[in-house]
């Protein structure tokens, strides 16, 4: 069973000619089949955690370890991490002019699976996955994220999640900027992947709204660069009622 283990992760970023520590010792274990929600106020370092795990060059790891099934993730390049089974659904997916969605998906699936998917089954696979996400077939011919609405971008991320079948999926504020209909469609996509029992999900969110659609097994409150409190789904209810104030004032630790 795949396991992502984060131990005492410390990350800095360069900003305005100064080095700033964003992650100050994060400990977290995500196992295949589990869903962890990471909730926290703006600026707490949630997205830094997501991008650091994926290997974004902007972030410098200054301490700690991250392993996937015992393999050192921090030693891997960005593409190696993806091929090892890590997937990051991005909050702000990037436009790639001149590259069609269909070409992108196939190139990506070829890289992740280690061989080109058989054309006939692949076309069917993509078509069906798109239908489930209420995506028009013409979508496949558009350039990656170019001119996509906020909802289209997020559907496209979840389409990739469904097709690439990672071991660990990190969803970085996938719910932000979505109306209720889009949120429901996107959440259903995430749930289909979760129901296979083959993915460990790290759901990063600012709002509790998405947790009505995607039920986490564990909820963690992220504040000031580390996990301030962990609990079950009831912790999300508490946050819903009380907000993050207890964690932002005076750096409370449970």
């Amino acid at each position: 069973m795949a396991t992502l283990e984060i131990r005492d992760l410390r990350v800095t970023v360069e900003a305005d000619n100064a080095t700033k520590e964003i992650l100050k010792g994060v400990d977290l274990t995500v196992k295949q089949g589990e869903t962890h929600a990471i909730m926290g106020p703006n600026g707490s370092g949630k997205s830094t955690l997501a991008y650091s795990l994926a290997g974004h060059p902007k972030y410098t790891i200054t301490g700690g370890t991250v392993t996937l099934d015992g393999e050192d993730v921090l030693e891997m390049s960005v593409d190696e991490r993806a091929r090892a089974g890590l997937f990051l659904a991005m909050q702000y997916p990037v436009e790639v002019p001149g590259v069609s969605v269909s070409n992108f998906l196939r190139t990506s699936a070829t890289a992740i699976r280690g061989e080109a998917p058989k054309l006939r089954t692949w076309v069917k696979e993509v078509k069906e996955a798109m239908e489930r996400l209420n995506m028009d077939p013409s979508f496949a011919e558009r350039n990656v994220n170019e001119g996509f609405s906020g909802g289209e971008k997020k559907r496209h991320e979840i389409l990739q999640l469904e097709l690439l079948k990672p071991k660990i999926a990190i969803l970085d504020e996938t719910d932000s900027g979505l109306d209720v209909d889009a949120l429901r469609v996107v959440s259903e996509g995430v749930n289909r992947v979760r129901e296979t029992g083959e993915v460990g999900t790290l759901l990063i969110t600012h709002y509790t709204r998405i947790l009505r659609y995607i039920k986490p097994d564990h909820v963690h409150v992220f504040a000031a660069g580390r996990i301030a409190e962990s609990g079950g789904p009831e912790l999300a209810d508490k946050l819903e009622a009380e907000g993050y104030e207890a964690y932002t004032k005076g750096g409370a630790s449970a």
Partner: protein
Amino acid sequence: MAEAQNIPVGSTTAGSIAVAAESTVVSRMSAPPSFDVADFPVPHGREEEWRFTPLERLRGLHDGTAVATEGLKVDVQAPEGVTVATVGRDDVRLGKAGTPVDRVAAQAYSAFEKAGVITVPKETVLTEPIRVAVHGEGGTAFAHQVIELGAFAEAVVVIDHTGDAVLAANVDYILGDGAKLTVVSVQDWDDKAVHVAQHNALIGRDASFKSVVVTFGGDVVRLHPRVTYAGTGGEAELFGLYFTDAGQHQEHRLLVTHNTPHCKSNVVYKGALQGDDAHAVWIGDVLIEAKAEGTDTYEMNRNLVLTDGARVDSVPNLEIETGEIVGAGHASATGRFDDEQLFYLMARGIPEHEARRLVVRGFFAELVQQIGIEDIEERLIARIEEELEASVA
């Protein structure tokens, strides 16, 4: 219908549409067109038509110090029915399609000794391309080439430039009524070559001209494709593709003069740049004269900057002296292949070199498909990939 997008780092894009203004396309040249080099002052580099060009790298083509030497071979392979001739300076077919507009073109016209004339007789439809191989072995040359199609003739001409040379040339394309000519000019020079040329196309009534200019190599390549129409109903498609590497200067200056009613032109140039001091210049001028009613024209330039240190100057310019036209527009955009794109593609498991290849292939694919000659298309894609392999590695 103007669209201009400016990415501040390492690129400039400017555009203008002048309506019924005084003709800046002509007036901004520092001297009127002439076949005589003496009519042009030696440029100092601040003139509008020279301000982007590194004169010190032209090896004397611009100031009269370049001297012709041995070391440029031209080999023409033509199918049956085509006449290939070498003629003297007094041949009446020379200079019919256009007049040199700058000092280097005039220098080429004043200095060449023999000219090449390729003639496709009227109503001759070729099924095989005419291939012109221009290969430099370190020489300096002034050249003149005429390619003439009689009425209703159809031909494809592929001109390949390879090796090392310092070359100033004029190339005339003369299309008879109803003729169809496709010319693919590939500049695949070695690193030190300097190539400055003016291409003049004169398009007959109802004739179609398709020019594909492909520039990969050389130290300085400066090409000046120009189109005028000899009758109504003419069509010009000018496609260009360039891949500018570190230290290279590649300049494409186009002028389509709509001097006749009911003609069309479509200009699409796309370039990728990578490496320190890679410099691409694109000037797209279209002039619609008062009498050219019913004109339909569009010009577009797109640049993809792959690394830091590269520079693009892109200047579309449209001058319209009549409102009675079908359409006129231009667009220019320069974009960067940035680290965020790379991160996004790599985060989906795609290795770095493949991610770059994907983006660049996608960028050029649409243009390459418009060439319509399969073996040329395949060769260009292979060559683009080679360029990428060479420098991404």
